[in-house]
């Protein structure tokens, strides 16, 4: 076996990846700051304050301490120190999760909208490039052979055992990986931009059909939150798998483009 370095990520992918990563972290933290101004979610056009779908509220306990209660679809959970109450204060998400750490809706909004431009322009250029260059269908779309149930089943088992592709197999993405990337770039990221725009009363006057397509402004806000939650889940799994499947090799490939694989002589 010899180790060779293949060219894995092209320059546009690497640039788009890191711009997106920076924008994502800042959008998430400033987004949670904005959410904290009214830590509740609803479905439909308007807010039914008596029946939120999700709500994070402080509640007094018998010994006078504040407990954070998170309500989801009528079920209540004690989430003290994470949601509803942290550091003894009423807060949706805790200080470490928000930008800025202290409560400031105005500053959170300014960050969010500035980063949204970076995120949306970067994402649009990336999507255009990935489509026109052939990257999308060459590298990201599952091949026919990869889409067979047997192959998919084997891939799931390999992931569960943390067994990562080696040798020639490591030259391309595996099918679960491809699905995850496609879901992020074609569904979740565009959904963030579209539902984000639908929270703007100005944009709603310009394109009323879009907010209606999401079922109303409060639905759009809830989908914005759920889609962001999906991205956070992806982010956590992505970071774990990057670390477990060869941290330095993965990091190098996203910085210099070169990825090491072992092949038979």
């Amino acid at each position: 076996m010899v180790k060779i370095r293949i060219r894995r990520h092209s320059l546009p992918v690497r640039i788009a990846h890191w711009v997106n990563a920076a924008a994502f972290v800042l959008l998430l933290a400033s987004g949670l700051q904005i959410f904290n101004a009214h830590p509740a979610l609803y479905w439909g056009q308007k807010s039914d304050f008596d029946r939120p779908w999700v709500a994070m509220t402080p509640s007094g306990s018998a010994d006078g301490r504040l407990i954070g209660v998170t309500e989801v679809a009528g079920r209540r959970f004690d989430t003290t120190n994470l949601l509803g109450v942290s550091d003894g204060q009423a807060r949706g998400f805790p200080a470490w999760a928000t930008l800025p750490s202290y409560r400031s809706l105005a500053e959170g909004r300014r960050w969010h909208f500035a980063m949204a431009w970076l995120f949306a322009i970067n994402g649009a250029l990336y999507l255009l490039w990935t489509f026109l260059s052939g990257h999308l269908f060459r590298d990201l779309w599952p091949t026919r052979e990869q889409s067979r149930p047997r192959h998919i089943f084997k891939d799931i088992l390999d992931h569960a055992r943390l067994r990562f592709p080696k040798g020639e197999e490591a030259r391309r993405y595996n099918v679960i990986q491809k699905w995850a990337y496609l879901a992020v770039i074609l569904v979740l990221l565009p959904l963030m931009v579209l539902t984000g725009l639908c929270m703007s009363p100005g944009f709603n006057a310009v394109a009323p059909w879009l907010v209606e397509a999401f079922g109303g402004r409060q639905s759009a806000r809830t989908i914005h939150f759920l889609s962001a939650s999906g991205l956070v889940l992806f982010f956590l799994v992505h970071l774990s798998l990057v670390a477990l499947s060869g941290l330095w090799n993965n990091l190098r490939s996203m910085v210099t483009g070169r990825y090491a694989i072992e092949v038979g002589e």
Partner: protein
């Protein structure tokens, strides 16, 4: 190393990292470069909104069945000034809306006068900057025809709304105020509303008169309006940013 030591060390390292992260975020927030970048973003957002909303598009209007059973009131719930209390005690019989500044004919209108002006009814969604929405029915005098009646001077560029409530406490900067440019002031859905859901405007919702500017967020919809002033610039008023919340860091154009 004992288990306790290790746990202490991990907790300590975690707290230190958390502290660094927080300090880093807040430091980034204070950095002049980051603030300059954000400022560019804000200018771009404003230009994009103005380009998209130049055409006078209407905000969606809803059906009576969509009206929120409990419309949340925000900001001031009741102005506690002696002047306002006196007006409220006489059910606004002595209240007058003053229209002045850069106008040819300054006006002083009673509630009855306002009821005689060209009116409009609309059921619209009110979006608070905090994130919630309520739907309500509004009826009021259209601002555009009223401004035409007063006759704007050529130099007038903004319409400032001076309110009775002191959301910011005592002092010159405590009074609530707002401002619109002429495009929004003359928009057909921009009203000086005296009725909500078929009844005279209640005190928590801004009695006797509040602004409705349907394509923008809730903080633009000034309550307890006492005086409307046409100006060339609002730089000399209070904090100079064109509104109570604008002086406190919020965007002057509240379309998003």
């Amino acid at each position: 190393m004992s288990g306790l030591d290790r746990r202490g060390l991990i907790a300590g390292a975690g707290a230190a990292l958390g502290g660094l992260w927080l300090a880093g975020c807040d430091r980034l927030n204070r950095s002049p470069t980051a603030q300059a970048l954000i400022g560019r973003g804000e200018a771009l957002t404003y230009k994009a909104q103005r380009a998209l909303l130049g055409g006078g598009q209407l905000a969606k209007e809803f059906a009576p069945k969509d009206v929120s059973p409990a419309f949340k009131a925000n900001g001031t719930m009741r102005p506690r000034t002696p002047e306002y209390e006196a007006l409220l005690a006489s059910q606004f019989a002595d209240w007058r809306l003053v229209v002045d500044g850069l106008v040819k004919t300054p006006l002083s209108l009673s509630l009855a006068d306002l009821h005689a002006e060209p009116a409009r009814s609309q059921i619209t969604r009110h979006d608070c900057v905090e994130g919630w929405s309520c739907i309500g029915q509004w009826r009021g005098a259209r601002l555009g025809p009223l401004l035409e009646k007063a006759g704007l001077a050529d130099s007038a560029r903004y319409i400032v709304f001076h309110c009775a409530d002191r959301l910011g406490g005592e002092g010159p900067r405590g009074l609530y105020y707002e401002s619109l440019d002429l495009a929004d002031a003359f928009h057909p859905q921009t009203l000086l509303a005296y009725e909500m859901n078929g009844a005279p405007l209640s005190v928590p919702h801004g009695a006797p008169l509040r602004l409705r500017v349907e394509r923008q967020l809730g903080y633009k919809h000034a309550k307890y309006v006492m005086r409307i002033e046409a100006v060339e610039s609002f730089a000399h008023i209070a904090g100079g940013k064109g509104g109570f919340w604008e002086d406190r860091g919020y965007e002057w154009y509240a379309g998003i």
